[in-house]
Symmetry: D2
């Protein structure tokens, strides 16, 4: 029941603070004889890496991953895979003046209330820097799932601006700095986010994840449901405040007929679906349809606009966070969400194989 | 990693099928010397019990709970508490004609795809009848949390009809069949739901849960976050498609300033908050503010309107579900949601005490 | 991390007290589509059942098991299997006079020190009656393992009297009241144990377990080793004070050459072993050889001979336990040990399949 | 259920191979605000370190530990503590000639049977080098337990030579290369082990562990028993073939009277024991008496004497292991056993506090 682990048969344990010497993770339970080198992991880290556009933090971290164990002659051995990423650009001085003041919206206060310790170095353990480890683990999870399973994410809402879903184009996601699937939304978002940043503000976002070709039968009733595990995995990402599967909250307003996914036989003797309101999961078990999940990310709490706060010794004091921050942390949450979905699916693939064979 | 258990130090394992001889659960890890009798559990079961209004299933189940172990002379002993509820009104004949056809939106198909078994008796394990066990466990969890912690739920949206939050009255929740906190919404909902039922349809809903006086410090980074565990617990309830904490999905459209919960000192030397957009959880740890969660329930898939489906042997066939069903399962999900929140909080109370003392 | 559960993919949770209304267990994670009825479980319970010879307690319990869930039309469904055994002969009066006095060697004192509760009814949760649930679960585990895997146990030492291993005959185990594989030891043990009982004493024993045809590859480094899990499982049985694998403690006195299990090729292209000092496990993983484990059971602490003790309120008082007790609890531990080995192997079979396929 | 983790609230995950770049571990769940630096851990590693006497392997490893996370300004923060130890003397060439041949008694064959991978570099993951991580974790566990709890180990049998327990002197343990508590056994063992090594042989040993001042109440029925967890922890150490608590296997030959630990009141109102046959644990729960455990270590399988074996491609071939090996791995198992006992006790201390407060 480790606090810093998730998964059961494919199990990930992460460690490390934003401004310590390094961060890393241990991936345990990975099947043996999968081809794996650092080069299989690095591209996913690069996608999440800060400092790549004007719209993310300017902290410069190469995020170069090293495999310290569990791989021999280019193949996984079945033993724990230890991954290490050094912190190279940890300017602790950036945080000196907020060392004694709680940043509203951050975990500063609650960590101190819980542990009685104030690790003021960039949020310490609560920093989103930890998500690099998730992305690295997710790259291994994709190996477990195999080539046929495709997991992709996209930003579908930036602040008040939602995409037009009829213009969805996965290829476009690769072409802009927002992971936005709607080319016409990109200039709108650019202008909007530039203004937000100029005003010393920040903004929230919604990310959508789609996993295709997931085998039917993954997930297990009642407390090992696939959607239950996905919800936990996505809600554990920094700044996430909501998770939904398929039609999600919109389904509350639907009638049973509007929400129905009718079944029929396709031409070749297989069962097909007339719709996917369920998001590919029924009774906690994958149906073979695409698995669709969305999660909402709140606006970055760190910003240049002052917010009333208090100091550790009980004085009232406004807080401005001058560090290098993303005006919209939702953008870099896209590869993180993909990775979490990959890890959950890999775990359930192994669990299903364990019970059912 | 039991599939049918949740929680770590306060751990609940449920078992049983809708139309088997009984359902039940085992609550392990409960602290000793808490006063507990069946009478402490029964009122919560009665709240969830079917057949109490025209708006829920007419299946008649007394849902009388028996304590088989873990309690001696009216006190918990620290050993596992086994609870048993007999099924008395299991009319399997109701389901005879859908034994060979998959009910769209139900878990029939996915259970069969996963296990190769079709337990057609009212959904078998996937029936919402299982949630009675959660409610029973939740009553014990409330004992662990103590009198001061108050956990309440309410229906805040029925189909397209949302409550007016300015009229929120907890006392009203006890007075109507919907657990609705807005007296003026009640007649609207009555009329609407009567029409839905008459039309052979069903409808979704949104439930809000509020836990007050929860101690600060519960929850643990990174994969034991309180909100992450709440999300999993609520998403595991039948028919739930979305979960949010605090402002949830709405926070995606907010700026950092709009979403900020400013801190200040109250008159008596304690830290106070100027708002609760966060829903009482920061960095996965409770802040001492009320914990606020919402979850969306899809419309009941069982209804009298036919939906295209297929049989086990690959024939296309429309399905009408004639059994006794709730036109809106969201209503009876209110006490279930409360129970899940109680169980998660009790577990985290013990976990926090374990690590931090 | 439930206190009353063991196993991971094949997971057993037991509940119930010696003198409560019933005891039972929940077996979660069992693969679907295995044939299972009460008749598959009852014979194993009958083997452990008290009152069958002059050498075990005279408590009369039919130990009739009921399957309450997880089986449909004679097949496992993949959902949790709930088993219930009623207590019918719970004469609480037998224990009235020791309600306030700790029985030395029993868990009375430590349960009270831990929980602050004294459940004096026959040991409550700490009674060996709980082992009936293990035996029932073990019967299901054997189904998971399949017909080819054979798990058998025998008593190899009763007090100071060890069997002559050259006379080992598995058929003899079925023919005597001691599960003794050495026909010539039986009359010696009968005479010895009759004297022990007549003298108001009790005596310890050693049980040996052998599992044949276990596939190679079960068990996982480093903390999921098969021998590590077997040690935990056997040590968790009431009154067990030691566990060994293969040559066990004797191997401490051996040289590497004496302890070696040489490898060679058998005629048909398979690897064969020249000996089995290792007891079928190398590096925590099964080798394909028979798995051999032994465990030592201390003498029953309940006996008619007085032992100095103290009362709950701090008075010194000699204790005589007049209840119905086994003079050698090791005898009935044989089917319990077999069951625990079956459960551990079934769990590892599923775990191995999960990771390696 | 991670394969490479143990413990629940105090949870240790280890990773790394004998001849990879590094080994390490992650300690999760450690309470906050405990003073901790590398200097608190290093002395325990030094005790286990190879190359310190003529009786252990001549591999030279400084085993310098680095803390990478979880400690801030000299105090634990409550977040995961990552420890890293570099491998500096990994002469892979030593193993080149056994790359294709299975070393009898080692895990070479079973790892290959399980994973289909042959990591021939000094045993890879199965090497006893992994135990350095346990020792490091054990040093942190001692911090959790506090100064008052004292955990010590000693070698009580080397091959056929047992110590004379009447001469037991803990101070002597620190003075010789065997962790032997009996000064008169030391020269006997020196002579014996020198001969064993000269003959190209190896030998087994028995280690005894004693934990004093452990609070009563640690451990939990039924499958969280303290002795059950100790058995698993000790059996998981490389080459261990047996574990016993208190009188262990000897108790099988005792009558109930001989085995009884009578209770009495000491002068100051506390309960005292007249003996400690039970080894400080009753019903799986600590009684407040010293906890006594022993474990048997088989002779090193690596030795200069040839043993018949087979190659990966099915050829018969004798194996001589020329690497740098301990003639008696039991010696260096002493600090490893102490560490495992410390980790188990720390975990149970937190678990007990969680449930009972």
């Amino acid at each position: 029941m480790s606090y810093n682990s998730f998964g059961h048969l494919f199990r990930v344990t992460t460690w490390g603070e934003s401004h310590g010497p390094a961060i890393g993770c241990v991936v345990d339970g990975c099947p043996p004889r999968l081809a794996l080198t650092e080069a299989d992991i690095q591209p996913f880290l690069d996608k999440r890496r800060p400092g790549q556009s004007a719209f993310t933090t300017q902290r410069k971290e190469p995020d170069a991953v090293r495999i310290l164990s569990g791989v021999f002659e280019g193949q996984t051995t079945g033993t724990p895979i230890s991954l290490l990423i050094e912190n190279t650009d940890q300017r602790s001085r950036d945080y000196g003046d907020i060392a004694q003041t709680y940043r509203p919206g951050h975990a500063d206060l609650t960590y101190d209330l819980k542990y009685g310790i104030r690790d003021y170095r960039g949020g310490g353990r609560s920093s989103a820097r930890e998500t690099a480890c998730r992305v690295a683990a997710g790259a291994i999870a994709r190996r477990v799932l195999g080539e046929s399973v495709r997991i992709r994410g996209a930003l579908v809402q930036l602040g008040p601006h939602k995409i037009d879903r009829t213009r969805w184009d996965w290829a476009e996601v690769e072409r802009n700095a927002f992971f936005c699937p709607d080319a016409q939304s990109v200039p709108v978002w650019e202008e909007y986010l530039a203004a937000i940043r100029k005003d010393g503000l920040s903004i929230g976002a919604v990310i959508e994840l789609v996993a295709e070709n997931v085998p039917a039968g993954l997930g297990a009733p009642i407390y090992g449901k696939l959607d239950s595990d996905l919800a936990a995995a996505l809600m554990s990402i920094n700044a996430v405040k909501g998770v939904e599967i398929g039609d999600g909250f919109a389904s509350a307003a639907l009638t049973g007929v509007e929400n129905a996914d009718p079944l029929r036989m396709d031409g070749s003797g297989h069962i097909a679906f007339g719709a996917n309101h369920a998001g590919g999961i029924l009774g906690g078990i994958s149906s073979g349809q695409p698995i669709v999940a969305r999660f909402a990310v709140k606006p970055t709490s760190s910003m240049l606009t002052p917010v009333p706060s208090v100091t550790r010794d009980g004085q009232e004091k406004d807080v401005i966070t001058k560090g290098r921050h993303d005006p919209c942390v939702g953008i870099r949450a896209v590869p993180v969400g993909e990775a979490m979905m990959a890890c959950v699916l890999a775990d359930h693939l192994l669990r299903h194989r364990g019970q059912v064979g």
